[in-house]
């Protein structure tokens, strides 16, 4: 492994942030109604200067009240899922791990269905139900994955898969037996959807993102060693038990965050970390921030495509990421095998 310099870290992140900024600009510009560069620039300028009365209220509504919150959500979700994916891949030492492999998304889906059955009249019940479900599934898988006080990667993986399929069965049972008029949007939500604004301010979501990614980042150097095997890492002085716990909790919180506001957006957590590794190497000290930015770029791009390709109809963003993600993934897999 070539040594990582601070210079390389900062340059890479700055470059990715630049791409993200560009992507955000294009996402603000394109939509059902395309807005000219000049109008967009003047809109952003006047809003920033507090002279919002200078711009057409139509543009302001579309760009600032519809597109911008959605882009914020896309960035937060993309960053969460990608970092969670990279973390699970290290934790389970399995390149095929994604944020949903340990049943978090099934838990979230079950939680949101239960919230629709029990608290259908409460606004914003779905994301809270989803988050509670994600936490519950995480806890269940954690206890299944414990062996003598330590998280065992294989027990964790198997426990996660069993939990996921058990919860999916419960979901199918509920969806076919309960005659809830509210469950209609469910299938849509399971595909991953960013069109519904989150009832929680994006600022708070961002805070959770920063805390989650920050916690995982503190273990970045240890994760590099952990990739060589747990025994080896332990001999090198890594507190393996603590590292695994922090990564597991951090990645689960990030996944729960993403799932509760946007449903299950597939492939982002799988593809982005692999692409970032391919481009910048697999040092987790660089991988984690680069993956966060890359995930944000990927989901903003996917969502921009999802809402412009067949406008005014919108595709669920999850369909878009799977459509692009699956072929990329197959390509990577073939390359690795070759």
């Amino acid at each position: 492994m070539r040594p990582l310099t601070l210079r390389k870290l900062l340059l890479t992140c700055a470059a990715l942030a630049g791409v993200l900024l560009l992507m955000v600009f294009f996402s603000l510009k394109f939509g059902t109604r395309s807005i000219s560069m000049f109008d967009l620039a003047s809109l952003l300028y006047h809003s920033a200067m507090g002279q919002s009365d200078q711009v057409s209220s139509d543009f302001r509504l579309i760009v600032l009240d519809i597109r911008w919150p959605r882009i914020l959500l896309a960035m937060i979700v993309g960053a969460s899922l990608s970092v969670a994916g990279a973390s699970f891949q290290a934790l389970l030492r399995n390149p095929l791990a994604d944020p949903y492999v340990l049943g978090v998304s099934s838990g979230a889906a079950l939680g949101s269905i239960l919230s629709l059955i029990w608290f259908a009249e409460l606004p914003g019940a779905t994301p809270f139900g989803a988050f509670a479900g994600a936490v519950a599934a995480t806890a269940a898988v954690y206890f299944l994955g414990r062996r003598g006080g330590d998280l065992d990667s294989y027990a964790l993986l198997l426990g996660g898969i069993i939990t996921a399929s058990f919860l999916s069965a419960l979901i199918m049972f509920l969806m076919t037996t309960i005659s809830g008029r509210e469950l209609r949007g469910m299938a849509f939500w399971l595909m991953g959807d960013l069109s519904t604004p989150s009832p929680v301010a994006p600022g708070w979501l961002f805070l959770v993102l920063v805390v989650g990614v920050g916690a995982i980042y503190t273990t970045a150097a240890d994760l590099n060693l952990l990739l060589g095997g747990e025994q080896e890492a332990m001999h090198l002085g890594v507190d393996v038990v603590r590292v695994k716990l922090v990564v597991y909790l951090g990645a689960s919180v990030l996944t729960g965050l993403a799932v509760s506001v946007s449903g299950a957006i597939g492939y982002v957590g799988l593809i982005v970390p692999h692409l970032v590794r391919l481009l910048f190497g697999s040092d987790y000290r660089l991988l984690i921030p680069a993956t966060a930015l890359g995930g944000a770029i990927a989901v903003v791009l996917a969502d921009t495509l999802a809402r412009t390709l067949v406008a005014p109809t919108q595709l669920p963003v999850g369909a878009m990421t799977a459509l692009v993600g699956a072929p990329v993934f197959i390509y990577l897999l073939r390359r690795r095998m070759a």
């Binding site: 809003s47 606004p123 779905t126 005659s179 600022g203």
Partner: protein
């Protein structure tokens, strides 16, 4: 150069601030209409009238809304029936009746309508219905300062009341009253004709692979009852999957198909006659099939046509003077494809 940088930082700061303050903003705008619709400030002077929608929400609208966006096929049909079709500024991708509805701008599907598109249509009011739209959509529209009027018709009687109320809210009270009275009168006439005749025991075929029918609490089941039909399905789910054994055990007198079945109903009927299980059903052997238009499951004034059509097919003896609808080759409200 320095001022440029300041501006960029101010812009970034503003975006961050707005990220944290989004819900506060939402709370201010939460009532159905903010002081003066922000989409069209010119109209602010126009007097707003308060009406209650089907959900009991207070909605503030202009006395005669000029720009209406409909988020469901049934609402589009009702607006046309109220002779306000020329005020429909937008409809969903599924709004196919009357044919003129196809010429209106599209706003996407009922579950995920395109908010940008709706905003750029400058609606005075958006019509939503509980059966097809999501609460999140309604909340998002209100947050953008757009009035949303919601309907919720769960029975045939609800449709009449709902039409009357909507007519009043849209400034077409006389027409709404006439429509409602017409529907009431036709229902009374139908009830008179069917009086004393036992309800036909029918099996409504929503789908054949797997067999899906309708539960007793759906709008469709109520429409069937008004046509002198009783569904043999008694389970409480709305769209239950039924085994062929159960259909055989119930031995329905008629199989009822809707014109919206993806296959031509005649193809389905032909293939059922050759399939084991189905072919031994008495209704299949006797060719007791009834085919009605999709209007039977749309809470809109055209529903009455479908109810009468079904009644003629399954109770032909109650319509002695009617222009001979042959019992074995039922007419189709959509134009007699059979």
């Amino acid at each position: 150069m320095k001022t440029n940088h300041t501006r960029i930082w101010v812009a970034i700061g503003w975006m961050l601030l707005s990220a944290f303050s989004a819900p506060a903003q939402a709370a201010q705008v939460a009532p159905a209409t903010p002081p003066g619709p922000p989409v069209a400030p010119a109209k602010a002077a126009e007097a707003l009238v308060e009406s209650h929608d089907d959900l009991g929400r207070l909605v503030r609208l202009p006395a005669a809304p000029q720009r209406i966006v409909s988020l469901a096929p049934s609402l589009t049909e009702t607006v046309f029936a109220l002779e306000l079709g020329d005020r429909l500024a937008g409809v969903t991708d599924f709004c196919d009746y009357p044919p003129e509805a196809l010429t209106r701008p599209r706003v996407g599907g009922p579950i995920n309508p395109n908010l940008e598109q709706i905003v750029s249509l400058h609606p005075d009011v958006v019509l939503a219905t509980r059966a097809m739209n999501r609460r999140e959509t309604v909340e998002a529209l209100e947050r953008l300062g757009i009035s949303v009027y919601a309907t919720d018709a769960r029975t045939v009687d609800d449709v009449i009341a709902s039409t009357r109320r909507l007519g009043k809210a849209l400034g077409a009270e006389v027409r709404g009253e006439a429509l409602a009275a017409g529907m009431e009168q036709r229902l009374a006439e139908l009830a008179r004709r069917l009086a004393g005749r036992p309800a036909r025991r029918v099996f409504f075929v929503v789908w054949t692979d797997p067999i899906i029918s309708t539960g007793p609490h759906t709008f469709l089941a109520d429409a069937l009852r008004r046509a002198g039909a009783e569904s043999v399905v008694t389970v409480s789910q709305d769209w239950p999957q039924i085994s062929i054994e159960e259909v055989l055990r119930q031995n329905p007198e008629y199989l009822v198909f809707s014109g919206t079945h993806p296959d031509d109903p005649q193809n389905t009927i032909n293939s059922l006659q050759k399939r084991p299980g189905w072919s031994s059903l008495e209704a299949v052997r006797e060719k007791n099939f009834a085919v009605v238009s999709e209007a039977l499951d749309r809470p809109a004034p055209r529903l009455l046509d479908a109810i009468e059509d079904l009644a003629r097919q399954i109770h032909p003896e109650a319509f002695p003077t009617a222009p001979a609808p042959k019992p074995r080759e039922p007419g189709n409200a959509r134009g007699g494809r059979l």
